[in-house]
């Protein structure tokens, strides 16, 4: 059983419009938001005495910045009521640059939100339009400035690269622009096309090409070089922090096999080697909660082999790498013994290093996180 402090995730599955690359679950009608908030509160009650304590709370989506101050307050109060939220917990909300005002940010701060993750994506309007974002570059900049004015000392930006029409040169400019606001955290995602998204269909129809392996690598390495030079720590494939303190505590839990509770439609939870996820439908979610049922779609008990594989591919995504000691102790996998030859070769080729009984990817290794997990 986990005695570790957990992360609490609340999925707010509402958007005013869908971004064309996004495959997360959300609906574009906001009529049910009030009911949804009440339901999440009731869902919290189901898990009241299971998770010992939380030191992070994360509003994700969807578009959590569509929550009114009142709704956000209801959820935060309920979390305090049902759970042990640690005093200095990281409380993050994702923000869509188009939805915000100084008053909104200020009230969020009053209610306890101490970190904002702004969905900037790009500072190029044509790119934003191509991606189907509702905001403009100007709005993005305004929202950053407003967040600072509201007193937020921990800001993260989401940026996206390797989009059609973008090259490494224009991407560098985007990064430079982002750096000019000195964010505490940066997530730089390579565009990946889920086949259910409209953008995927457009790529197919218009014969647009995804970057070649070489270009993708170029994007990846350039991103790391620029941000590392600017003093950031490249601590996960797509994530950079100004100092270790600003690494996303919440997201770390996913990568470290630490427990997390996900509330709301389609949210995933992990606890005691069990992972379960809620139904990805607002109406069934509400109905289940209404009839006193957990809205769980499915759950799986992970075997040692499965956990070991997850530890490997998650660990290889992080600069801290894989803890070989716990891999052996927890899952019975003595990686160094079983894969001695190949690990030696990978060390020779500077794709991994051995450090304090951890197998850590180098920058080039991180670009091959999945392959490293499959050695």
């Amino acid at each position: 059983m986990h005695t570790k402090t957990a992360g609490l995730y609340i999925h707010v599955p509402f958007c005013l419009s869908k971004c064309r690359y996004c495959s997360f679950y959300s609906i574009t009608s906001v009529e049910l938001m009030d009911e949804f908030v009440k339901a999440v509160v009731r869902e919290m009650a189901f898990y009241k005495d299971i998770f010992p304590s939380f030191d992070s709370l994360y509003f994700g989506g969807g578009t959590p910045s569509l929550l009114t101050t009142g709704q956000a307050k209801t959820l935060l109060d309920a979390a305090q009521k049902y759970f042990d939220i640690r005093p200095r917990a990281e409380i993050t909300t994702e923000v869509n640059p188009g939805d915000v005002s100084l008053e909104y940010f200020q009230s969020l701060r009053r209610e306890g939100v101490n970190r904002l993750n702004i969905g900037v994506q790009s500072f190029d309007d044509s790119l934003l339009k191509f991606l189907g974002r509702r905001h403009t570059a100007k709005q993005a900049i305004e929202s950053i400035e407003t967040a600072r004015n509201a007193g937020f000392k921990n800001l993260g930006f989401d940026l996206i690269y390797a989009v059609h029409g973008q090259n490494v040169k224009t991407w560098r400019q985007t990064l430079k622009k982002a750096l000019s606001f000195s964010p505490e955290h940066l997530s730089c995602y390579q565009l990946s096309l889920d086949c259910k998204t409209p953008l995927y269909k457009q790529y197919k129809q218009d014969g647009l090409e995804l970057p070649s392996e070489k270009e993708a690598l170029d994007f990846f390495i350039s991103t790391s070089m620029i941000l590392t030079e600017a003093g950031y720590i490249h601590y996960e494939v797509s994530n950079f922090a100004r100092t270790r303190k600003f690494e996303s505590r919440h997201n770390r839990k996913y990568w470290n096999h630490e427990p997390y509770l996900g509330l709301g439609p389609a949210a995933h939870s992990f606890f005691g080697n069990r992972r379960w996820w809620n139904k990805a439908n607002v109406k069934t979610y509400l109905k289940d909660i209404g009839s006193g049922k957990k809205p769980v779609a499915r759950s799986e008990q992970l075997s040692n082999d499965e956990l070991a594989l997850e530890s490997l591919f998650l660990g290889m995504r992080t600069a801290d790498g894989v803890n070989l000691e716990s891999l052996k102790k927890l899952y019975g996998l003595d990686l160094l013994a079983v894969k001695k030859r190949i690990i030696g070769t990978l060390i020779d080729h500077q794709l991994v290093i051995l450090k304090n009984n951890r197998l850590c990817p180098t920058l080039e290794g991180m670009a091959l996180a999945d392959s490293l997990a499959l050695i």
Partner: protein
């Protein structure tokens, strides 16, 4: 005996041999609708799928002819590939006549002719049967002309049928009765029965398939195999319908089976003569040959844990395939395995496929080799069919390799390209005969090693399927041989080593390096593939490094999905063999031995 007819159906591939056999079986009522399935005589899945017959088979069809008499028509099915030409010849030796089946649309083809020659060698009555007359593209006039001009047969003797539609079947049966002579022989003579096949039955041991020429045999008799004088007590005799039917005795002229407590099919030799211990015949029936494997390769399990499974499977497989031999072998790169001997490359292919399919094994085959002969400095002569056992080059006085005489029949228009192919394969002493207008019989002496690689495929391709090919091993000839090794990332992969003619070494090494480059997936680091003789590198290719995965977001909801994706990839990787730090797929080992003309 005058009411028995023993016959076989011979045809070019796809001319409808199995379908005609099915119709004959149905017509004579041996099989009802309920237990009918297509290609009744092809028992193995692999035979049905490839449309080839691997094992011989027999069935006895009771038939009341128009003359009012009851006949027993014994149909003997034969394999259809040069690897098994000896088995075919024994099956034909058990017959008095054949149905020579010709596709009405395609006309006379290479195998039609080759099969005709085989039947003629055995002095068999030949009945030309034109099949598929229901096809819109059927051109019976043209086929009749070809029967006369290309086969030299009287076109008036032909029968038309459509096995698919079931027309002309009775005419075929009537012709079998009227035109194929009844067997000769004397029931009072000492027993002489020809073994044309043997199958293993897990309850009864070996079922010997035979044709009785002289005398008779019954349960309780002590029989003797004339090749090795082994004796057995007969438990049961009978003939074949869809199942075995027990009889009191088998007499001269009969085709049937003998069960005599013979443990494995390896104890029975196709072509051997069975006689009685207490009343033996004077001499064996002609044509017996000890079949020896000519192609050798090692088999390894992909996962070393499967070694015992492989051992058990080979033992079981061997029960039913007397021409397959194996013994323990081990490889530095691939671990424990078995060295196996095969009749030819098709035989090797079949064994591999059956092991994978029927026994559920994942295996890797080393590069096939012939059996070389080396005379060492100290005068000792050794045979080497495994490159791993190649002698120290300093101690070799003389190397020799087996030569064959290849006999090919082909339309004259392909002569140039076939001769070119033969020369390329180090062919010498060619000989040429015109067998008919536009038809040539060509023979060459060639190293067997050249033939087992890709000769057959390329021959078929340059003659567009119109050439037929057969070979006999003639002798050993001196040859400048070297051992060519393949190194993957500096590591020698002994299963890929080959013994080759020095002049061919570089070309072979280049091909191997190129093939491996195509087949080995890129890995996270650059891989060098090298061909070497001793310490000298003679060929090289490089596989560039794979450098970037698609590393999209990975948060709570993605982990399960991503794990499942990686689990799938991991399962695929399990089918690869780790050589040092490099994962090599099974296909890479196979690719090295495939055709080198593209």
């Amino acid at each position: 005996m005058k009411n028995i007819r023993n016959f076989s159906i011979i045809a070019h591939i796809d001319h409808g041999k199995s379908t005609l056999a099915d119709r004959l079986i149905q017509f004579t009522g041996v099989c009802n609708e309920r237990n009918f399935q297509d290609q009744l005589l092809d028992n193995m899945d692999i035979e049905r799928e490839r449309g080839i017959t691997i094992k011989s088979n027999a069935i006895s069809l009771p038939y009341r002819a128009k003359d009012g008499n009851e006949y027993m028509l014994n149909l003997i099915d034969t394999p259809g590939h040069v690897d098994f030409s000896y088995e075919v010849s024994r099956s034909l030796a058990s017959c008095e006549g054949v149905l020579l089946l010709i596709d009405a649309a395609q006309g006379v083809q290479a195998q039609t002719l080759a099969n005709l020659y085989l039947a003629m060698e055995h002095n068999l009555e030949i009945i030309p049967v034109i099949n598929k007359i229901d096809l819109p593209s059927a051109d019976i006039e043209r086929v009749l002309e070809e029967i006369e001009s290309e086969l030299g047969l009287d076109p008036d003797t032909h029968i038309k049928c459509s096995a698919k539609e079931g027309t002309g079947i009775e005419e075929v049966l009537e012709a079998v009765v009227q035109r194929i002579p009844p067997p000769r022989g004397d029931i009072s003579n000492p027993l002489a029965a020809l073994i044309f096949d043997a199958k293993y039955d897990s309850f009864r041991g070996t079922i010997i398939h035979c044709r009785v020429f002289e005398g008779s045999v019954k349960a309780g008799d002590i029989i003797r195999f004339m090749s090795n004088n082994a004796t057995y007590k007969v438990e049961e005799v009978g003939y074949f319908q869809l199942t075995r039917v027990k009889l009191d005795k088998l007499s001269s002229g009969d085709v049937g089976y003998i069960i005599a407590g013979v443990k494995t099919v390896a104890d029975v030799r196709t072509g051997d003569t069975i006689t009685l211990q207490n009343k033996p015949c004077q001499q064996s029936l002609p044509g017996f040959k000890e079949v020896k494997p000519v192609v050798f390769a090692s088999i390894y399990p992909i996962a070393s844990d499967d070694y015992q499974d492989l051992a058990d499977s080979l033992e079981e497989y061997k029960l039913n395939d007397a021409s397959f031999i194996y013994e323990k072998d081990s490889s530095a790169a691939l671990g424990q395995g078995f060295r196996c001997g095969f009749l030819g490359l098709l035989h090797l292919d079949i064994v591999q496929e059956r092991l994978e399919r029927e026994f559920g094994l994942s295996i890797i085959l080393s590069v096939p080799s012939v059996r070389y002969r080396f005379t060492l400095e100290d005068g000792k002569v050794i045979y080497v069919d495994n490159p791993t056992h190649y002698p120290d080059p300093a101690e070799i006085d003389k190397g020799e390799e087996p030569y064959i005489r290849a006999t090919m029949m082909l339309p004259e228009r392909y002569l140039g390209s076939v001769m070119k192919l033969c020369m390329e394969k180090r062919g010498v002493n060619s000989n040429m005969n015109y067998t008919g207008p536009g038809r040539v019989e060509l023979s060459y002496e060639m190293p067997l090693a050249e033939v087992i690689f890709d000769f057959y495929d390329r021959f078929k391709s340059v003659t567009q399927g119109y050439g037929s090919f057969d070979y006999d091993i003639i002798d050993y000839r001196e040859s400048n041989l070297v051992l060519m090794d393949i190194l993957v990332n500096g590591e020698k992969v002994d299963a890929l080593s080959q013994i080759v003619h020095r002049e061919r070494a570089r070309a072979r090494a280049l091909i191997a390096c190129d093939r491996l480059k195509d087949e080995i997936p890129r890995q996270m680091f650059k891989i060098a593939i090298q061909g070497a003789i001793g310490g000298e590198i003679i060929a090289r290719s490089t596989i560039s490094a794979f450098r970037k995965d698609v590393t999209a977001k990975c948060y709570g909801g993605d982990i399960t999905r991503k794990r499942k994706l990686l689990e799938k990839q991991k399962a695929g990787k399990k089918r690869m063999k780790m050589i040092g730090s490099v994962s090599i797929p099974q296909s890479a080992f196979l690719a090295v031995l495939k055709s080198d003309n593209d």
